[in-house]
Symmetry: C2
Subunit: 345 residues, 2 copies
DNA sequence: ACATATATTGACAGCGCTGTCAATTTGTGT
DNA sequence: ACACAAATTGACAGCGCTGTCAATATATGT
């Protein structure tokens, strides 16, 4: 059984193909009752436009590409679900493209991807959102894109949370609990988010009049293992911190692991905080105090922004979307030296 | 700058469009030196076929759909990465389609998806892999599909591990450690995997001569929260189990959480085992003994199977792929009553 | 009522590729 | 060298849709 085509609908509705096309695409200049006739015919025949034909004729694919590198499963999952949802409303699909962030030549790889898939726009997740070679390529090719949590949001469209303020709020939480020796585990510096969080850590100390102590800072790369290693370092010194703020939840999980291995009790002996509110955060024991980042909302927003850009021919100008974060206080942080300020959940 | 087309390459190579098309698609009946000429021209001009035009003319999309419902982020991530990798080799893309598993009318939703996206095949993740209405639709429409971890693998192509044997191996591990009162937390019965694991649990008990005790079994739905609730139930009785085998890692995490809340030590007071080897498993404390399921490999295999089916015109007949699992012994299980048979990692 | 501006509709080419089938070249057996 | 089969190549229609632009219908001002 052959599929229903535009022509079939047109015949049924007694109008031209082009008019049906207009209705399908929500174009203006269709009289109300004509539109009604067409919509009825479409419903009656259960017509769905052929995406390939649309792409070919219209020179666009109704597809958005999601570029990702070394991200956590949970992050990608949320972002892609949000994007799918936003795209679904306007029948835009999502094509995934994992990038080998190791090799420097992301641009070439992406260029091939663009040529083949003909995506109409791109969503860039960190750390790819800060790959300048790629940005230049996209600008040159005039491919619309949205960057998630970039280092600098002064060009193109971006979606992020106020990383600095969020980290400051977490620091305030720890400081309010009486902590003064607060350790920090950095994320990979290629991520803009890592930098902001680190800057904010230092700024909060300074604001409170605490002298920044490099010995309380350890490098990490957002992975669980790097969190463990960092924790080893921070907990080994003679005068270990009373709280550790890890740049993300994965690393915080590593800290918890290491702390337990060393026989410490959390939060009695040490408070631990993360960042992201990955599913993991509430599944750990003790559950993790963290910053909730609206990853799904960010994916949704990114797609929505991209679509307005794609559809409105003139771009509405660069735009930054800042979404709300939320400090989630769970069981892994407590008053310094006394513990148990919060009952376990 | 207009994109390079087939015609441009043909002119450059001094052959017809059709011949270039043959080379691009790896079709037979092209003389070796002709092929060489064409390949050179392609490389020289950096030609990439236009996917939309190919789809329209060839009546296929070079796209495979991944249907998923209520799965864990980590599972989806691995499966999709595996599938992408397998697809990449033959320039097949992957389109995601989340299904509302709640509503019964998955078929209608998927039918729309098929019409629009024109995917050439489908990968079904559980529990959608067992939706019979959908299967019938796909059979009727002659859409190739591969089912992951289905309940019954007696029709179409499937990819799974030997769930029954894997669960049996976990039971053997626990029994070998001396456990006799082994609790079990079921997964959602809509998942074939849940059933197999549960069956296997019962079979192992029987084989060992232990009388099955319904009080040691609790319902779950693969979620962390359901694991917590199930654990409450199992640990509340007068004579609690010395080990709990949860049907997946998420629920096992819930059990750990609940056990800690109740002041139990793991594995001294109780051993806990999961299933899947999600990233979570090694991040928990204590790290979780579980069954490693090669999710990425399964995604890869599913895509590969699908592609041979799509490309070879006659289907090579139904095929079942059984991949290897692996028992991963970590720190959450130990000898009954004594604990610490395994040092913490 | 008439001319003019504006909104609505339709005819048709053509997007870049593949399927079909016919034309041509090459190989094989005698 | 010839007839014939097999391999290789090419010409061309058409996949289902949208962009362009011309044709027609309706609204507006006088």
């Amino acid at each position: 059984m052959r599929n229903i085509r535009l022509e079939d609908v047109a015949r049924k509705a007694g109008v031209s193909m082009k008019t049906v096309s207009r209705v399908v695409n929500g174009e203006p200049n269709v009289r109300a009752n004509t539109q009604e006739k067409v919509l009825e015919a479409i419903k009656l025949m259960n017509y769905r436009p052929n995406a390939s034909a649309r792409s070919l004729a219209g020179n666009r694919s109704y597809l958005v590409g999601l570029l990702y590198g070394d991200v956590s499963p949970a992050y990608l999952f949320e972002v892609q679900n949000g994007a799918l949802k936003a795209g679904n409303e306007t029948h835009y699909g999502l094509v995934l493209h994992p990038c080998e962030t190791v090799e420097d030549d992301v641009s070439g790889d992406v260029a091939d991807f663009l040529k083949q898939s003909r995506v109409d726009g791109l969503i860039l997740t960190p750390p790819i959102s800060d790959n300048m070679a790629l940005i230049r390529l996209l600008d040159a090719e005039k491919i619309p894109y949205v960057r998630l949590s970039p280092m600098d949001s002064d060009m193109g469209m971006t979606v992020s949370i106020d990383e600095k303020q969020a980290a400051a709020e977490m620091m305030k939480h720890l400081l309010d609990l009486g902590h003064r020796r607060i350790g920090f585990i950095k994320g990979p510096m290629a991520h803009g988010a890592s930098r902001w969080r680190y800057e904010s850590y230092k700024a909060s100390l300074e604001k409170t009049g605490i002298i920044f102590n490099p010995a309380l800072v350890a490098d990490g790369d957002f992975s669980f293992d790097s969190g463990k290693i960092a924790a080893e370092k921070l907990l080994s010194g003679g005068n270990p911190p009373t709280a550790i703020f890890a740049s993300n939840d994965n690393m915080a999980a590593g800290v918890i692991h290491t702390a337990f291995e060393r026989g410490l009790q959390i939060p009695r002996d040490i408070s631990i905080a993360g960042f992201d509110d990955a599913p993991l955060a509430r599944q750990l024991w003790p559950s993790l105090t963290t910053i909730h980042q609206p990853m799904r909302g960010m994916g949704h927003m990114a797609m929505a922004q991209l679509l307005t850009m794609i559809r409105g021919d003139d771009c509405a100008g660069p735009e930054q979307s800042i979404l709300n974060y939320e400090l989630i206080i769970r069981a892994s942080t407590a008053n310094v030296g006394r513990g148990q300020s919060h009952p376990h959940p």
